[in-house]
Symmetry: C2
DNA sequence: TTATCTGCAAAGAATTTGCGGGAGG
DNA sequence: CCTCCCGCAAATTCTTTGCAGATAA
């Protein structure tokens, strides 16, 4: 069975080679935000002959084809995640004490960003939001607004 | 007259060398988001003996001292901008047709982000938002894509 | 003075690319 | 087949660092 990403590739008319199929599978099976090295590691588990250069080339291709998006969480490497659909435009909260990344979605935020872009005279085509936070101590209640 | 950034350096007890003074001046005089190469170019106009290694080292120092913040707009290099104050926590809208960067500030957005972080169990310590948009062409016909 | 800083060049880290053989449609 | 793709290794690009001399406090 082809992975969701593999199907997308075919829809978009990309030549489906073995390395691309494997990379597509890895992406579909990943729910975190792997960098290229991590992707290559997972790809190698399925097919050790695939080189990291191909992972780079394929991620660039997938990015240009709107299958994945590149992210940057402040460490100097590119991270990737599958694009699932417009309704799923989530964002990230990075726990600065651990580096762990939480995803969230907020309706109010989506509306607000479109409004802000419009007020500035633009149609919003993409947006990134990253929050950086430290965990609230358990027992101390979150500050009410 | 010392630049605003130079004054900050002295307040924070940093040794004020000539290269740092020049770099501080360049930062204070810049209202865009220069990368290190651009900074070095501007620095060289004032003092050609200053090396790019020093610019890198100084930007790292200024970043650690909370005088500037590093930004990433998707091209692979670090960009810097002066931190002006808490009330000024603005964000960026990038015009994808030109690459031009607009800054904006929105009170509602500030409140919302703090609320979201709290609801996730975190105290917000920093945040980045980038909007990517295309200009609304009022009055002219829509461009076919 | 004396710890810190700087320029230079070399080292690193992440990513890209030229090349010749290989595989998809 | 013919074009595009792949692995390999070398090349690029951005950034960091070791060293020995220079400099601020």
């Amino acid at each position: 069975m082809d992975s969701r990403v593999a199907k997308l590739c075919m829809e978009k008319g990309l030549k489906m080679t073995e390395p691309r199929r494997v990379i597509a599978r890895v992406l579909s099976d990943s729910d975190d935000h792997p960098d290229v090295e991590a992707l290559h590691g997972r790809v190698r588990d399925l097919d050790p002959s695939i080189s990291i250069a191909t992972v780079y080339r394929t991620m660039k291709l997938f990015e240009e084809t709107n299958i994945v998006t590149k992210r940057d969480f402040g460490d100097g490497r590119a991270r990737y995640e599958e694009i699932l659909g417009d309704e799923d435009h989530h964002h990230h909260l990075i726990d600065v004490t651990t580096g762990q990344v939480l995803e969230f979605y907020n309706e109010e935020l989506e509306a607000l960003k479109i409004k802000i872009a419009n007020e500035l005279g633009f149609k919003l085509v993409d947006h990134h939001l990253e929050l950086f936070g430290v965990p609230l101590k358990r027992g101390s209640k979150p500050k009410a607004d």
